[in-house]
Amino acid sequence: MPTADETSKIPGTSGPEIVAAPAPFGSCPLPISEHQRIVLGHGSGGKLTADLIENIFLPAFRNPTLDKLDDQAVLKIGDLRLAFTTDSFVVTPIFFPGGDIGRLAIHGTVNDLAMSGARPLVLSAAFILEEGLAMDDLRRVVESMRAAAAEAGVQLVTGDTKVVNRGKGDQIFITTTGIGIIENDVNISADQATPGDKIILSGTIGDHGMTIMSQREGLEFEGAIESDCASLSGLVVTMLSTPTQRRDFIHTMRDPTRGGVATTLNELARRANVGIVIDQRSIPVRESVKGACEVLGLDPLYVANEGKLLAFVVPEMAEAVLDRMRQHPLGCDAAIIGEVVDTHPGMVLMKTEIGGTRVLDVMFGEQLPRIC
């Protein structure tokens, strides 16, 4: 049986139950289409993105830290353990219900640091501004970043600005890079996931992605959908300080951004070579998000989130951590949604609403509204 590593390689060419490919396929008349150009799907966090990383970036830059493919790099420098991460933000529209590109840029990077249990310290921000961007819009974005940084308890310590010609930049792109300190021998990473761990989701899913989707032309919704964009470091601190003698009771954390909960669970399952089982009925979804997803034929499990986390917690501590989370404003809808198992490593199974079973695979490309 192939290992999880093999199944995370080029999709479509491996898997547990593939019938042996017969020889005559070499003379297939239609060429199998390889992507010769970047398409939008390469940026959506699913299989195409993974392909790009595997085929273009990893081979060029290979090293043990990068190969871990965590959302942040954990660097040991003397006695210090630092978390180091970067992220770019290209969202359109730049202002949306619940946030804006500036707020996203701060919280997104802070969250990547927090997911390793690091205390976020400082950020840098690089701006690419399009010629013609209204100065008021820039002020608004920057003010939003100031407020977000204050919320998250981080300082912006260095930055850069570039301007590109009109038509070359979609108003504003922001890249933030962050550094945090991992204290107290905390050891939280994907490969720590262990069969038996309970999986906790900190709140409702799909809010951010559906907010952005709803701003697209023709898909407007009236109704309370707004982005859940927020810094999770406070929630993480609350979780880590759950009273206990037990050390290392949180094995893994990740924020399910692009590609949604489904994609993130798959990444974690493959990285740690464990199986995951979740129950669809336990997953919290707002009515408004649910309605929007039904109308467009989308699955909330694949929709991006910007203020939620998934945590793998040792079973005996799960209830206690859940209680702590529910007392925090960002964790009031937290729920245990599943557990880590030792069967079917690398694979995520879900019990459906109706009581059936389904395998939850990663998202393939861009999520598109469907009519069928």
Partner: protein, 384 residues
């Protein structure tokens, strides 16, 4: 959500399945016609819940899958033209033609836009009077009223920069083609609920009678599908063959007269080619002559490329319910949604794509479908 949530009740589902088990005396093969029903079945794992002996096979009810390659190539050729805004439902964007897909054309600078409703094209056309707005009008009868309204309003408002590239297909002729095909195993049908919401189900009476097959017009939620299957099995067990309506909260025998009138004013039936099956007579809609100036096939002189389907692809057999996706040696290996070889993998609704999306190519080694680990999971308790 009202009229959705209650049709996803696991307890009632179990009771319907139990009833079915106790009614069953021999195996039966039932085909669900619609891609949307296939999607619901695979997504919810409904076929795993059914008692052994009831086999659901998947039909040709995926308009994206059955759109002929020539038509896709025409669409792409039009989308590449500099003065065109090409509008399409999201489903069509990743369907590959002989060279790339609409996404690729977009990445090369084509103005390709996803629309949720055909009526958005009217807004786009009003806002861009100097451009040609072309809408890829695919679908079964369900989508015909909306597409017809687009053509109707374009003509009424003299929006002469709007045109439709029509590739509509009809269900009843497809059912007959399936029943006529040698080797047909299908003994009963779950009829297309939303198609019939528009068209009613009068057209299915003669088919049911001629071929002596039960046809139960069925909805899309899990309980609809289970109830529809139960009704079909009951007919089969008692030797009856008639048309019944499971989806009565939505439709009746006559369907939506206003919609039918609108369709009739804009479209006329004609022969259509179905990818994977071939030409079925009188199985599609074409725009009436009065709408010629909004007919993209007539307006744009795009020579169709002679397409070649990969020999290995067994879509034709899958669309007719003769084979399942995992019967194909290419399924999940050479043929994936990323690199589809044929009709049933190219769209999210096709049987092969649905199977792949819901992980059927990854079924846990040797595990029983109602995986014991899943059954034993006490997750719901923990959250109280």
């Amino acid at each position: 959500m009202k009229y959705l949530d209650e049709y996803r009740d696991g307890e009632i589902a179990a009771r319907i399945v139990d009833k079915m088990r106790r009614t069953l005396t021999r195996p039966w093969v039932v085909m669900e016609v619609c891609g949307g029903q296939t999607h619901s079945i695979v997504k919810n794992g409904i076929d795993y819940l059914l008692p052994a002996g009831v086999e659901l096979v998947h039909g040709p009810g995926c308009p994206v899958c059955v759109t002929p390659l020539e038509m896709i190539d025409k669409a792409h050729a039009i989308a590449r033209l500099p003065n065109v805004i090409f509008c399409s439902f999201g489903d069509m964007l990743r369907v590959p033609g002989s060279e790339g897909d609409l996404f690729t054309i977009k990445s090369l600078g084509g103005d390709v836009r996803v629309v949720y409703s055909p009526l958005e094209c009217l807004k786009i056309a009003r806002a861009n009077p100097e451009k040609q707005v072309v809408f890829f009008a695919i679908g079964f009868e369900t989508t015909a009223p909306a597409n017809a309204m687009l053509a109707w309003r374009a003509r009424a408002e003299s929006l002469n920069n709007v045109s439709l590239l029509v590739s509509h297909v009809l269900v009843p002729p497809a059912l007959e083609a399936i029943l006529e095909a040698p080797g047909n195993r299908v003994q009963g049908f779950l009829g297309p609920g939303h198609v019939c919401a528009v068209m009613g189900y009068r057209e299915y009476d003669p088919i049911s009678a001629r071929y002596h097959v039960p046809i139960v017009i069925t909805g899309f939620e899990p309980l609809d599908i289970l109830q529809g299957t139960l009704m079909t099995v009951r007919q089969l067990e008692s030797g009856r063959a008639t048309v019944e309506n499971q989806y009565s909260r939505i439709l009746d025998r006559e369907g939506n007269r206003a919609a039918q009138q609108l369709i009739g004013a804009v479209f006329e039936a004609g022969d259509r080619k179905w990818r994977g099956i071939g030409t079925i007579p009188m199985s599609g809609y074409h725009l009436r002559d009065e709408f010629s100036r909004h007919d993209a096939e007539k307006l744009f002189d795009v020579a169709g490329i002679a397409p070649r389907e990969p020999e290995i692809c067994i879509s034709g057999q899958i669309l007719r319910g003769l084979k399942k996706p995992h019967d194909c040696p290419a399924f999940g290996s050479l043929c994936t949604p990323q690199r589809p070889l044929g009709a049933t993998m190219v769209s999210a609704e096709g049987a092969c794509a649905a199977y792949y999306t819901y992980g059927r190519h990854l079924r846990p080694h040797g595990a029983d479908p109602m995986h014991p680990v899943v059954r034993e999971t006490e997750i719901v308790h923990a959250n109280r």
